[in-house]
Amino acid sequence: MRGGVLPPALLFAALGLALAFAPARARAWGLVSLMVTLAALSFVPVSHGWLETAFLGCWVSVAVTAAAVHIPQGTRMAGALVLSVNAGIWASVVVALSGTRLDLVEAVPCALLVLPASWLVAKRASIAVKVASSWLIAIAMLAAVLPFLAVTPGYLPDHLE
């Protein structure tokens, strides 16, 4: 098992943390563009041949989006929109291939992490947000490389099954 709610939830959580460093206007437009992207792509059929690419794109996006918290001046409007649309695309594709629309609905609230995270940034406690984002980067690194290794991931049948 590797699909379901977790990959989009982690991607939206990373987006929430990244948007916390953006101005309030960029934050709002970022969330709006995320919702528009999800709505636009949730009914688009995706070929099953894209499965591995979809997961790789999702995990790379989690790492890149989480790393955006380290941009010195914070994410600006253009950056916020790009990250949000990108998150919407990869989350939609992953869920279309290995989940249900309900997974997407359950994952979306993770983007609301932007609220406590931006409060922490405003209170000069952005350290906590940066530490949490490093956890997401670590998880994404592990999940991204697993399919390329010469081991049998637990979600696939091995020689004993």
Binding site: S134, I137, A138, I139, L142, A150, G154
Partner: protein, 200 residues
Amino acid sequence: MNRGRVTLLIATMGFVALLGGQADAHTGTGLPGGFASGFRHPFSGLDHLLAMVSVGLWGAFLGRPLIYLLPVIFPTVMAGGAVLAMIGLRLPPVEIGIALSVLVLGACIALAVKAPVWVASLIVATFALFHGYAHGMELPSAADPVGYSVGFVLATGLLHVLGIGIGTLNARPGGLVVTRSAGGLIAVTGAWFLYTAVVR
């Protein structure tokens, strides 16, 4: 810090200590589960648990920027170590590396070593590689590797936060003695781990 918060801190430490099992870390695999197995894993060995708390505690000693840099570096390099294990690259005996991490980090706290940023980062990154390697050997067999990763990275991060929390005692009268003594105890425990790892 008021008495209530100190009591809460001690109760939390006691709870975490109860979760710790035998001295040998990384027993068992995450085969049956995902998040829960991964979250439990860092608590299943005292050596890993002490090293994680020590990273946070030493960071608290060193202050900015290392107080947040060390907990950022550790999980990232730990993930790299896990990847090395999964591709089958051989490292020097991992148990010795992990035991050394407890010994060295404990000693750094006990001696209140004020290392430069790059030295502290290098020390913590090197030890993170060993801890990640130990985790990585078990990760692929987890039925839900993503859930497992989320669990163990989160637990590791929370242990760092616990260490930083204990480090706040430094600001209290007599707190420095308490935290440095704790570092001394950690170092002695690390020396014992090293002895058992070498003799075995």
